[in-house]
């Protein structure tokens, strides 16, 4: 052990928990190794510092309990208010979405059908007539073509021949 550095041994456990055998080995090595001696001294001082640090303690003040209870009540009140405001906000959002839906339905019911009312049965009939006209006569009615014209169309060509 004398020729082995003892740094790892120092850090493996608190100094107070090192066995007497380990400590004597540490001391023996530290006598011959300046680096380990410094590490050992530093470890001893570090242990002492920690002991001094943990020896200090505070007691609760006379008003501590009162203060905690007051904070607790305050937080509970805040939480309740927050819960109510959340419910209120949720209700507001629901109400506004419902109002928007009603408005949209009203527009669909009263405004858009009003434009469709221009389509009357007469216009529908006119449209049907117009379609027939387009398909059969290209805009000319039977009455507009005279019998003579028809005969000329049918037999005029033969006569020409």
């Amino acid at each position: 052990m004398k020729d082995k550095h003892i740094v790892n041994l120092l850090e493996s456990a608190p100094l107070a928990e090192l066995s007497e055998r380990d400590l004597s080995e540490v001391r023996a090595h530290a006598c011959e190794c300046a680096g380990c001696l410094q590490a050992f001294e530093a470890a001893q001082i570090a242990t002492l510092l920690l002991k001094e640090r943990t020896a200090e303690t505070f007691e609760p003040s006379a008003f501590f309990h009162t203060r905690v209870m007051a904070t607790l009540r305050e937080r509970q009140t805040t939480n309740e208010q927050w819960a109510w405001s959340r419910i209120w906000r949720a209700a507001g959002a629901l109400a506004s979405s419902m109002a928007a839906t009603v408005a949209a339905l009203a527009v669909l019911t009263f405004v858009i059908p009003g434009q469709v009312t221009t389509v009357t049965p007469e216009t529908t009939a006119f449209s049907a007539y117009s379609a027939e006209e387009v398909i059969l006569d290209h805009g000319e009615s039977d009455e507009q073509v005279s019998d003579g014209q028809v005969l000329t169309t049918l037999y005029g060509a033969d006569e020409d021949r």
Partner: protein, 226 residues
């Protein structure tokens, strides 16, 4: 909380009733108190605080040197405890349950506080420097203490600890300072045993190196003067 509806006007039996309630609180088990506090009985929670606040304060004092910080930590512990009363089933002791909450609260507060950079000899106060000189001079002899010197040492310890990470501070304070076992630290923190051991090993190294840096210039100065 037992009390009259009209302050100053007391029912003839109210004193006896209050006396009975306070006695019943004092004698009630922790589990019964927790159940009553959960149901909204403030006097039950006050009794829990009365029983355990000295312990919580003592434990939080290990992590903070300013009284205001200790009080802040302790208050946070009891506020958390109140909201988590439902999780206390009475399987373990209430003291252990509160110690776990205290450990986590202190660790969180340490994490939120700014870590100091490396501590150098030039950063030490005169008292701290003298304390270190004395320790080196008395290295071979038995160290004696005085309250003044203890305070200086605690200041210096605080400064050295603040250069370490919160996890390092926690294990050093608990294991090396409080003589807690690895198993106890595992229970307090919820870390694995191997994490606690490795953390403690590394924390000791970092603490020792921090102190060694403070000692090195003094050792050099000492050898020069010789």
């Amino acid at each position: 909380m037992a009390g009259s509806r009209f302050p100053g006007v007391r029912h003839p039996n109210s004193l006896n009733r209050e006396h009975f309630l306070s006695n019943s609180c004092e004698e009630a088990s922790d589990l019964a108190l927790a159940r009553r506090a959960r149901e909204g009985d403030e006097s039950a929670f006050e009794e829990i605080m009365r029983r355990y606040s000295p312990r919580v304060f003592r434990f939080a004092s290990r992590f903070f040197r300013q009284r205001s910080l200790v009080e802040e930590a302790a208050q946070e512990v009891f506020l958390k405890a109140f909201t988590q009363l439902g999780s206390y089933r009475g399987r373990g002791s209430m003291e252990g349950w509160l110690t776990r909450i205290t450990t986590n609260t202190c660790l969180n507060l340490l994490r939120s506080s700014k870590r100091r950079p490396e501590l150098r000899v030039s950063d030490l106060t005169e008292d701290e420097s003298t304390w270190l000189d004395n320790q080196m001079a008395e290295a071979a002899t038995e160290r004696h203490k005085s309250s003044e010197r203890s305070s200086v040492a605690a200041d210096l310890a605080e400064r050295v600890l603040h250069t370490l990470s919160p996890d390092d501070q926690l294990v050093l304070i608990l294991i090396d300072g409080e003589d807690a076992s690895v198993k106890e630290v595992v229970e307090m923190t919820g870390w694995s045993a191997s994490k606690v051991k490795v953390q403690a090993f590394r924390a000791r190294r970092r603490m020792r190196e921090g102190v060694e840096k403070l000692l090195a210039p003094k050792a050099k100065a000492g050898s020069k003067s010789i």
